[in-house]
Each structure stands twice: as structure tokens, then as C-alpha cells.
């Protein structure tokens, strides 16, 4: 908890400096949030190539709009994820796709130095199973699961990003996981899934 607080203070310091035009602060914010944003976008789009483009665009929009960001009890992370969410919505609108698409080799971006071929295939299958199961969720449930588990946001951050109260997020999280569990269990995927993911 203390580390988290310290981190939030660091982020607020960087944001203030970035708003004052300090260019190195932008780069540090990029370093701080790239991982989370990329995972979230990658999870939502299922395409590492698209995720790379969209993630890059998130930070360009950050530069263009950061002067409009105000500390009104909303974490900066929520603001950034809202940008990412909106870009993903635009992406799907343009492509005419549903919110989730089958993965297109999303494990391709695994660092080959650390993953052998069999493991990559296992992970591809696992992620595909999860994504298919996620299609049975409502949009809000899916969004909460994506932000919490892929983006690594806290309940409070997710709530600010989506514009809901904390309790609503917990309820959506519960309902989403319940549905996810039912789908995976019905297809008898979960034991296999856990085995694949634990290697």
C-alpha cells in the first residue's frame, strides 16, 4: 500500500511537470504506463499489431490533451485508460467488428528468448478460450474484467475510468467472473486452461 501511494505521488509529480512542458516527464509517463495500456489494448483487440498502433496513439493523445487533465479526485491512470477505451471503440467502429475478436497470434509477441514453441501454442490456446468465454459477458462486465485483469487497475481506478461507483465495479466484477467461470467450466476448459497457463 505504501509503495502504491509513493507511486501515485510520483505520477502526480510527473503529470504536473508534463503539464508545465517538461518533455522528459512525458517519456517517464510513457515508461510508467506503457505495459498496462498495451496489455489492456492487446486483450481487447486480440491483435498485437493493432495494439501497438493504438497504444502509441494513446500516448500521443496524452500529449495533446494533458493540459486539460485536472486533479479532481480522478487518478491519472483512469484518464489514460479512458483514452485507450475510446480509441478501441473507434477501432471497432471503423472495422465493424464486435468488441472481441479471436486472437490473431497474440502470443507472437512473447519474447522468444524465454518461451519455447510448445509453450507459445499452449498460451495461444488458453487465451483463445478465455476470449471466447468473454464474449458471453455484457459490455460493462467485459470492460471491468479487461481493465482489472489486463490493465491491472484497482477498483477505484476502474470506477473512475468507466464512470461508475466502486460498488458497481465490484458487482460487475463478480457477475463477470461468475459468467466466465460457468462458460469455462461448461466447456471443461478450466482445468486444462490452468494446466496450460501454469506450464
Amino acid at each position: 500500500m505504501l509503495a502504491k501511494i509513493g507511486s501515485q505521488n510520483e505520477v502526480s509529480d510527473l503529470v504536473m511537470k508534463a503539464q508545465e512542458g517538461d518533455q522528459s516527464s512525458f517519456a517517464l509517463l510513457y515508461e510508467r504506463f506503457f505495459d498496462q495500456i498495451f496489455r489492456y489494448v492487446s486483450f481487447k483487440t486480440g491483435s498485437p499489431t493493432e495494439a501497438e498502433d493504438i497504444t502509441g496513439e494513446v500516448f500521443v493523445r496524452m500529449i495533446e490533451s494533458i493540459h486539460r487533465f485536472k486533479w479532481q479526485g480522478h487518478p491519472f491512470s483512469s484518464w489514460l485508460f479512458r483514452i485507450a477505451h475510446n480509441l478501441i471503440v473507434d477501432y471497432f467502429r471503423k472495422k465493424g467488428k464486435k468488441a472481441l475478436v479471436p486472437l490473431e497470434g497474440s502470443a507472437d509477441n512473447l519474447r522468444s528468448a524465454h518461451v519455447d514453441v510448445d509453450r507459445r501454442i499452449d498460451l495461444e490456446i488458453a487465451m483463445d478460450e478465455i476470449r471466447r468465454a468473454m464474449e458471453g459477458l455484457t459490455d460493462l462486465q467485459r470492460e471491468v474484467i479487461s481493465m482489472r485483469f489486463a490493465g491491472g487497475l484497482s477498483v477505484a481506478e476502474t470506477a473512475r475510468a468507466i464512470g461508475k461507483k466502486d460498488n458497481a465495479i465490484k458487482a460487475l466484477q463478480h457477475a463477470g467472473l461468475k459468467k466466465l467461470r460457468m462458460t469455462l467450466a461448461a466447456e471443461n476448459s478450466l482445468p486444462v486452461l490452468l494446466h496450460q497457463l501454469e506450464g
Partner: protein, 286 residues
């Protein structure tokens, strides 16, 4: 007060994200154990699948290059504060008008001359800052602005040396930061971004910017850098023991700032320190 299932679930999810075992989480909520385990297993599979998604260093570097290009389209913001006044909010014609009034009324003429030698903390330093702010808004070309910032970096260097000579080490350190800000701003106007931070961000030459003739700028920077090096060595030699470490650090900061910028302007690829590296132009162009 009894913990709700949703709160218990959320608590276990947060703890799992920190690496805690499912069973350890659930042990604290025995009344919900069975259902918790089922949902947490589903959550764990999702978390593990996502944690395996990593990006390639090349992808991250491409994103950084895109960020740098976007930054190059932004104008560096040199916010100056003087007794609570934010000069950034003052329109350019107003600033020029203020400066013109100051110069026109001769009674102030001698004061402005005296302010030229002032350093931070001196009574007339505010006037010097005002003049410099007006100087920065006057140039219309990017090279003009680059040279203006380089000139101000030189002025900050002079102030650093005077402050050190007066024993005002803390003020000198603050002024050194401003020196490097001016060098970075100068670099930005000629198409170079410098990051000197522990994350090893490299110096990049931005794509798409016009190739600016920088020979005059380089010449000025070389002279200023040499002067700074010589004078700082002298000050270091003469300084009392307790101050030497801090002065040595300031010496390194100024020397590094000038050397990195000059090297980047020359399109060099010499590694200057563990944390800053000049790279050839175009290396980070997508």
C-alpha cells in the same frame, strides 16, 4: 460488520495480483470458501494469460519514437515565474510592450544595465529575468530561438560561477538545472531531444524537422562549454573541502550537457555516460 461476498472476492483478487496463493486468500473468508475458489480460479487463468502478453522492445521503442515526434510538434514551454506572475499567460505583444517601456524611460536604463550582472537572490534579478523572457519571444525562427536559449544557458553558467564564488551552493545548483533546461530547449529547436535520466532514454534526432544549419550555434556552444569547464575547474580547485563534492557534480552536469548537445548536433554516436547516449540521426525514425 460482515464482509460481503463481493468485498471478499475483490480483496482476494487484489492479493492474488500481488502474488498471494488462492488458498491463503480464501482462508480468511471461510463462509465463502467454495464459491470464492471457483471464481478465483477463473480469475487466475485470466490474469496469467494476460501476464504472459509482453511486448517486444522494438514495439516499445517504436512507440517512444512516435511519442517523440508528437513532442516535436509541441512548443517547449518555458514557464517563468516572477513573484507569482506566470509569464506564460502574458501575451507576447504585452511582454514586448513592457520591455519597450522599461527601455524607453531612461530612468530605468541604468538599472537594467546593473541588473545584467545580477544573480538569483539579488534585488534586480527580476528585471534581468524580464529582459530575458522578452528576448525569448522575439526570435521568429527556430534557429533564432535555439540560439537565444543557448545564450541564456551561457548566462546561467555565468550565474552558477558567481554563486559558487559567493558560497551560495544551493542557489548555484538550482541555477544549474535551469542551465540544462535552456540547453535542452535549444536542442529541441534544432531537432534533437535529450533525455538524461536513469531510464537510459537515448538522444534522438527527430524525423521530419528541417535540417538547420547549426554551425553558429555549435561554435557558441563550444566556446561556452569550454569556458564553463575551465572556470568550474578553477572554482573546484579553490573551493573548501565540504563544497567540493557538490561543485564537482555541477561541473559534471554542465560538462555533460554541453558535450551531449554538441555531439548530437554533430550526429555522433559516442556513448557519453551510462544514462545518456547520442545516436546517429534517423536511427529512431519509423
Amino acid at each position: 460488520m460482515k464482509v460481503t461476498f463481493e468485498d471478499a472476492l475483490n480483496d482476494c483478487l487484489d492479493r492474488m495480483a500481488e502474488g498471494e496463493d488462492i488458498n491463503k486468500c480464501v482462508a480468511g473468508y471461510s463462509e465463502y470458501a467454495d464459491e470464492l475458489v471457483r471464481l478465483l480460479e477463473a480469475a487466475r487463468s485470466t490474469m496469467q494469460a494476460n501476464s504472459s502478453l509482453t511486448f517486444s522492445p522494438a514495439a516499445k521503442a517504436r512507440g517512444l519514437a512516435k511519442l517523440n515526434r508528437a513532442l516535436s510538434r509541441q512548443r517547449p514551454s518555458s514557464r517563468w515565474r516572477l513573484r507569482g506572475i506566470h509569464f506564460r499567460s502574458v501575451p507576447r505583444p504585452v511582454l514586448l510592450g513592457i520591455f519597450a517601456i522599461v527601455i524607453t524611460f531612461g530612468a530605468v536604463g541604468s538599472t537594467t544595465a546593473a541588473s545584467s550582472d545580477s544573480v538569483p537572490g539579488d534585488p534586480l534579478y527580476w528585471l534581468k529575468s524580464l529582459k530575458e523572457r522578452a528576448l525569448l519571444v522575439m526570435p521568429r525562427s527556430e534557429m533564432g530561438r535555439a540560439e537565444a536559449h543557448a545564450s541564456l544557458a551561457s548566462e546561467r553558467g555565468e550565474e552558477v560561477r558567481r554563486l559558487i564564488a559567493r558560497g551560495k551552493i544551493h542557489e548555484a545548483e538550482d541555477t544549474m538545472l535551469r542551465l540544462n533546461e535552456h540547453l535542452n530547449a535549444s536542442a529541441g529547436y534544432v531537432g534533437v531531444l535529450i533525455f538524461g535520466d536513469p531510464l537510459e532514454m537515448p538522444t534522438v534526432r527527430l524525423s521530419g524537422r528541417p535540417s538547420l544549419t547549426a554551425s553558429t550555434l555549435k561554435s557558441s556552444l563550444k566556446q561556452d562549454g569550454t569556458l564553463m569547464r575551465v572556470e568550474m575547474l578553477r572554482l573546484l580547485h579553490d573551493a573548501p573541502g565540504p563544497q567540493q563534492r557538490r561543485i564537482r557534480l555541477m561541473f559534471r552536469q554542465s560538462d555533460l550537457g554541453y558535450r551531449v548537445l554538441l555531439d548530437a548536433l554533430d550526429g555522433g554516436s559516442v556513448s557519453i555516460s551510462p544514462f545518456v547516449q547520442a545516436v546517429p540521426p534517423g536511427r529512431y525514425v519509423r
